[in-house]
Subunit: 325 residues, 5 copies
């Protein structure tokens, strides 16, 4: 079942709420009334009904039914269509979960079509109720409220990435290299970060387009508010840029550290190899079947043992001093 | 043999179909008639005939005969020339197969010249029949139908790449490194992806040029449709961008994983070398031809064997604990 | 407790200083008077009071209360809001410490809101007092003084990075590779450098915006001064660009040097291995239980010892000549 | 000796050819006459003479005498100066051979100054003769003919690079790594490719400048022809871009393959080392001078030999199964 | 002591030279007179005197006293200030030596302030004397002469880098890797190249700005000359771009070659290790204290020696054939 939410305002006053879809045109008949309709996961028929009533463009309706990968605004004769994406970061699974919210905007109404219920509509209504003096600015304010919420979500996502990479930077200088599981997590997080970035950039363009073109929607008193949203997107986009930069630095540093660690291991291994190889040579010498000095004699054994021990200790001390061990 | 397809419309009505090339001018004599002619792999003479009849520019005809590597639109006095490329991905061979479709456009006719039959013309005709109410918008709609089909093909190609790289990302964290055959496949896929990208970018420019300049072709009611096509190309181009980004990430991750694997192998090899080398030293010791304690004695043999075994086990346990084995 | 500083000028003359916030509107009532108010870490109430008195926009006030990550200028109906960041480099900890200074500007007053006392206000007042003949140019000069101070701080920071990387370049060619502590310091410094860069770029835009738009603020005689500030930011931004370039070069050079060093070590290790392995082979030969020439004979021992020694010396000389040792 | 070529046209008709330099002004005296003069490797005096006669700017003459590294167009009061570069690829030596062709253009004459005879002038004359109906368009067509020829040479060069890199891509997956000679060839080819790219890009700008500015030179009927040349340059520039991209991919793939090969070699070496080391340990064991079980006994020898053999075979089979051998 | 040079022209005629600073205003009183003043390393007082006399802006004077890192032009009410940098490459020390030359320009005078005597003023005077017919164009020509000289120095520097990197490219394919000293030289040269690049780019902007804005300075007949200078800077900037590209290619090629060399060394080392290890195994076998076939027998010794020799030779031949040795 599709849940439908409706609201109607005249000036700053909320005059109706929760009325059926059929009543939309009645409300719109009254001059100065602004109507909001929210559909969650509507089917084709229901959307077609609304499209008919409000004369929505067939391409916009098609867009609202299919899934998109990028925010955009399309301008039609009698209305605009805006496709938004609310995001959430699932840190454990290294995933960026997104919900599409499509909107039809006109100076008299705002239709929001959510693809599923992951983006709850209650905070949006609370956002609107918080600034009743701006509701009178019309649909522009309603749209601002929605954008503000979505962009706040981007902010939260960006900070989560920020925290994640702070942790990663900390862990980078630990003793052990990354195992494949961690590598995979990093990999997923990088993909998620790129995806966030790819939501933010067209969103920035869409909002700046709204501010330039749709003066019917963005009235002068609302302008600073859209500017504020725009500024927030800009900050998110700079954060993601900075993080992608940081990721490169991390990759390079990791490489350098790995080289350091491998070098340390190689030195250790080589040192121990030498400590074993030289005594082996000596015992080999004393194993020859020729009458070398001390062969078959007690003092030969003492010499051999002393040599073996002495050289081993000597090598150990030598390598220790050079910090190879 | 060249197959020729023809159609003529007046307003929204299809008034003739399958008439010979010679009848084209007759149809064009009637005001308000729009004619479509399709030639598949035409020879020089046939194209020359048509060029004469419709006064096509010699450079455009030359272009339609030779092969191109990039989509483009050229504007001549009496018509425009557009070169398109339909693509298909052959995942197994890692190849991007493309067919060139050249079009001559004017407000009265649309000529499509296909280099070969790999791009079938039937879906195009079906596409046109699906929106009869738009046929009355003239050649612009016919062109839109063609662009829409070609760009849909780009979409399909991009999704195939998307799926391929999802699989690659999955396989990345497996235990075995890539063998040369897989490397080659990756290499070919990367080249194919770059080629797709290089079709998409000039296509984007071509369509945006059409929307800006040729208002004779793109009428106001058609504008949203071309905008829709443009939006699709944009999405394809963002997908290919994202994929190229992903490829870099995969390359880097692969490098890091390879290092991890090499490191694991090196540790193992070094551990086993130590487990073999130390007993070798001991047996060397007991092989010396000097009267060391226990030489020639049974208890000597017991000590030697115990030492060898004990040290081997000790080393094994030690390396195990440090996760070198 | 919040410290508040105030000043009022008429023309080039300082007419009042240290008056309470309540007196601000009295001063503003006199034509030609310019007022400066500084608040350090104000609470919500105090700012609200001032906002009321001077009719500051609610979004600007909100911005002044929250923390920002990037410099920006917002233009409201009756005033502009500018967010600045003074920076300092902590070389030891590899950190870029920044303090936010928010300003409200109008042709009659300048309000500075410092987030904390890390940016002292005394140098700013001294800067103003140094050029009394320009104070008559109004708020524009006050703003210039502030920008000049902040940008000077950027300069100092950039030079510190410059010195740091000169040192790093020197140390690069030393004998020992970097240990993890140094790597960490480098890593932190790189992050700090990126952060500085990310303050400088939007700052450049903000100042160039001021010069373009706010002619009410930047009067003709002040123009060269703002141009000078702009030029300074440009230089800082080019320095940070050059440094980021240098960092890449350092990373690459470090890699090449590391390879050189590893190669040197590998040659040494291999040489010593050979010097030990060949005598081991010979002693093994003489350890066989077969009547080889010289077995059990004195001259056998002499031959064996001579061979061992000769070959070792030979190998040593050989490797020495090829510069492997 | 300098070879001079001359031609004069009136309308579409060639009215004189091979006349001496002195006759140039006579021909130019007739209205509607267009003159072409070609000098191959002229000396200072000869050029000075011509400069005097046609009032060429001293800077343009200086440019025609010295050598340039980039195509360019300079606009003077009475004429334009264009510097072109014809190129050829020497695949064996990995070199891009270029010849400079400088031109002075005015609506009445075209002077071509070739630095040497490597760019033959006959194809140019044939090119002009092929389209006699366009000669009447004046100097613009002559210039077009020259540009067309030069850009065709770029095309040929780009295709040679294309073929070269196709071969390289094929060879990439062979068994043996590149030896220094091949590396050097690659290196030279990369430099040559970059050089081609650096001719193409300013050439593109120069032609697009001609199309924008010199409407005296590019008449409306000639516009499509210049557009065609422009399009060709664009394709060459996209080819070189794509090739540079491909080169990076090749470098990365080569690195990955090298790692694969090194890994294979390392596994083999390690396996053989183990197959040799373990028997060595056993023979060491049996070489101890202690009465171990079987020492001095026939069955001892059988056991030792069997163990040695068995373990070697076992290890061999083991490594074989894990595909290390 | 500060050396001051002065000159005055009326039209094309040099009317005075070497007059004292005090006489500058006298000369300027005569209409149509153009004055040049050169100060080398002036102190604050001397510059203040001149500033007073010619009404130079305080910020420009401040700039002329401090040191800059980038070329720039600032436009003041009555004059422009231009900061130039003459450069020289010290190939041995891998350093780019630069001298700052600051100029104040107005339609009546040109002041040049050199920071030190490293940029000699005589060539500049000779440059002016070479084109007396252009001196009448006023200060613009004087400025052109200076720019021409400075940019010629850039040219020389760029060619030196060009030659250096040609040598480097040659040496790249030699047998021995780079030692740290050479690495350091490369590193310094890279830094110097970046510094050159960073002088060239803003210089380009400055000259193009002069050509756009200061038509009072650049008269129509001078325009081609400034265009020529601009073109030269463009070529220098393209050369430095190409060189930076080349440096990356060199770094990559060097990496590939290093891998090749390491691989060669590894193969050699492994081969020799095998040639030593297998005989060691055999001698170990014959050293066992068990009655193996031939133990204590002459034919045993013969077999052992033959086996050892045969296998060593076999392995040697084998590795030789596979080109491991």
């Amino acid at each position: 079942m599709v849940t439908t939410r409706t609201r109607a305002w005249r000036g700053n006053e909320l005059i109706a709420e929760g009325f059926p879809l059929e009543a939309v045109s009645d409300h719109l008949a009254t001059p100065g009334v602004v109507v909001w309709v929210d559909l969650c996961a509507p089917d084709k028929e229901q959307l077609a009904l609304l499209a008919d009533e409000l004369d929505l463009h067939e391409l916009a309706v098609e867009d609202a039914l299919s899934e998109h990968q990028r925010p955009k605004v399309d301008y039609y004769d009698t209305h605009a269509f805006m496709s938004l994406h609310a995001v959430e970061v699932d840190l454990d699974r290294g995933e960026l979960v997104n919900t599409e919210i499509d909107t039809f905007v006109n100076e008299h109404w705002l239709i929001t079509v959510r693809k599923d219920s992951r983006f709850p509509v209650e905070p949006l209504m609370r956002r609107w109720d918080r600034s009743p003096h701006l509701v009178g600015e019309g649909v522009g304010f309603l749209l601002y409220g929605l954008l503000d919420l979505v962009v706040d979500g981007y902010f939260v996502a960006a900070s989560k990435f920020d925290d994640f990479y702070d942790l990663v930077s900390e862990g980078l200088f630990g003793d052990t290299p990354l195992d494949p599981d961690q590598q995979r997590h990093w990999f997923e997080m990088r993909r998620a970060l790129v995806r966030l970035h790819r939501f933010v950039v067209p969103m920035r363009e869409a909002v700046s387009g709204l501010m330039r073109r749709e003066h019917a929607v963005v009235s002068t008193p609302l302008y600073p508010y859209f500017q504020d949203v725009y500024d927030h997107i800009l900050r998110v986009s700079e954060t993601t840029d900075a993080l992608r930069d940081l990721v490169s630095t991390i990759v390079e540093t990791n490489l350098a550290l790995r080289d350091y660690r491998q070098n340390q291991v190689m030195k250790k291994v080589t040192s121990w190899a030498a400590i074993v190889a030289v005594p082996t040579l000596i015992t080999g010498f004393y194993g020859m079947n020729v009458p070398y000095p001390g062969s078959g004699e007690h003092w030969g054994w003492v010499t051999a043992a002393s040599l073996t021990l002495a050289i081993s200790v000597l090598l150990y001390v030598l390598f220790r001093r050079r910090e190879w061990l």
